[in-house]
């Protein structure tokens, strides 16, 4: 008798709750689009947000509902975009893959210090206090906020407290660029052959006073290779991929701030 009652009462409770849940599921149910799941499988799933949506799921939803283009996934690059286009049945041209470069060489002992910073270990926090502890207001503060921001592990700090980009791991999502309070990390097209590793806009005399490795705007590079390099204020601007001319300028640069990128294929 007790066993019978036990079964009956439990079954009764279960039935009532089950019906309640059934009604709730009908009323509040969310239909998950099967297309959306397919898109999710193609996406890298790192939720980096470089596409402008809060995570891969949101981007997938936007793609499926036609609110976002299929090539917005920067982290995934061409491969993912092509697959996405295939899933969604869209045509797509190849996009230019980008890579992050560190445009400062003023690490430890290279730049004079203004004061000893002892606050939170974070570039943004340091930059709020008089622009950081270094005398160069443009340079890398060296707390590695970019390293923390990178979802792909493509950045690490070297022994001089400067970030180093692992170009194979870098997807060009630009999260490090956003988090850097200065302008030290920049995105450049992957086939770019050379870049300027200094962002100081100060006059040459001022730069030389505080930094051993900064560009002091002498303009020699622009004189040596006028077709490839022009001066933009106190900084050179490279606007050509002609390696011969650039190599000459690199050789002549007294501050050695023109960096030639290695392993760049001429066509990608």
């Amino acid at each position: 008798m007790t066993a019978f009652l036990a079964i009956l009462s439990l079954a009764g409770i279960g039935l009532i709750l089950g019906i309640g849940l059934g009604i709730a599921a009908k009323k509040f149910g969310v239909a998950v689009d099967r297309h959306e799941e397919e898109v999710m499988q193609v996406l890298p799933g790192t939720n980096c947000g470089a596409c402008g949506f809060p995570g891969c799921q949101a981007y997938a939803a936007a793609v499926v509902s036609g609110k976002a283009p299929v090539n917005a996934c920067i982290a995934g690059g061409n491969e993912v975009n092509m697959k996405l286009a295939e899933v969604m049945g869209a045509e797509l041209e190849e996009s230019v893959p980008q890579v992050a470069v560190v445009c400062c060489r003023g690490g430890k002992n290279k730049v004079e210090e203004k004061f000893i910073y002892q606050g939170i270990n974070n570039c943004l926090a340091a930059s709020l206090l008089q622009g950081g502890g270094k005398r160069c207001p443009y340079g890398c503060l060296g707390f590695g906020s970019c390293v923390d921001a990178c979802p792909f592990g493509a950045l690490k700090m070297d022994e001089n407290c400067l970030p180093v980009v692992d170009e194979d791991a870098c997807t060009g999502c630009g999260l490090c660029v956003k988090v850097c309070p200065g302008n030290i990390i920049q995105l450049i097209p992957r086939e770019t052959k050379a870049y300027v590793a200094c962002v100081s806009k100060d006059r040459g005399k001022d730069v030389r006073e505080i930094c051993n490795v900064g560009c002091f705007g002498c303009g020699i590079c622009a004189k040596v290779a006028p077709q490839a390099i022009t001066m933009d204020g106190n900084l050179p601007h490279i606007h050509s991929d002609n390696m011969e001319k650039i190599a000459k300028a690199v050789e002549k640069c007294p501050a050695k701030v023109l960096i030639v990128r290695e392993n760049v294929s001429s066509s990608s």
Binding site: T2, L5, S9, L10, I13, L17, A24, P54, Q57
Partner: protein, 200 residues
């Protein structure tokens, strides 16, 4: 007065996380950021309040009259699981972001000892040898609600501390879960200070 006492006691003195050490899994798991912590707290308040009222009704009107007290655990789990499922469906509809932030911890409320704990404690506190205490339904609900509020307060404090810990200069070997456990222990000690405010 007694009802106020039950509420205060559930929130501070016998805080489910920090004094009874129940529901530690979501307490550590979801307390990394404030927003999901509040969401989790609200879900637990809802589930605890409703679960303590419904389990009281089930115990009083189904299990007790037919001498089925031995079914207590399974019947309560059944009720709690249904409520958690209900909360999950509603949250998925109303706030997909919160739903993803809570992740696995939401379905884990089902087997959360804090929720089952509040239901079982209600029975232990308000039923004595088959006798029902005065106003015990109301007291059960208040106790469940208070337990949920206490859980939420513990989560909120913890998440606030942990958000700050992210930026603090923690020794390498203490980073992550280790410092979280130490923090939890210190908070628990602090909450034992409340033990004196409710007379036993």
């Amino acid at each position: 007065m007694e009802i106020v006492l039950i509420f205060v006691s559930a929130v501070f003195v016998n805080n489910f996380v920090l004094s009874r050490f129940l529901g530690l899994c979501p307490y550590i798991g979801v307390s990394k950021r404030t927003e999901p912590a509040i969401g989790m707290g609200m879900a637990v308040i809802f589930v605890m309040t409703l679960a303590s009222s419904v389990t009281w009704l089930v115990y009083r009107y189904i299990l007790l009259p037919y001498n089925l007290e031995f079914l207590r655990t399974i019947a309560f789990i059944l009720v709690i699981a249904s409520f958690v499922q209900f909360v999950e469906i509603v949250i998925q509809k109303l706030s997909p972001a919160l739903y993803r932030a809570l992740g696995i911890y939401l379905p884990l409320i089902t087997t959360n000892c804090a929720v089952l704990g509040v239901a079982v404690l209600n029975i232990n506190m308000f039923f004595h040898n088959g006798e029902v205490a005065e106003l015990s339904f109301l007291k059960s609900v208040v106790h469940g609600f208070g337990a949920g509020v206490g859980f939420t307060i513990a989560m909120l404090l913890m998440s606030g501390i942990r958000e700050r810990l992210e930026l603090a200069n923690v020794p390498e070997s203490f980073k992550g879960a280790a410092i979280a456990f130490i923090t939890a222990g210190l908070m628990s000690m602090a909450f034992f200070g409340f033990a004196g405010i409710v007379p036993h």
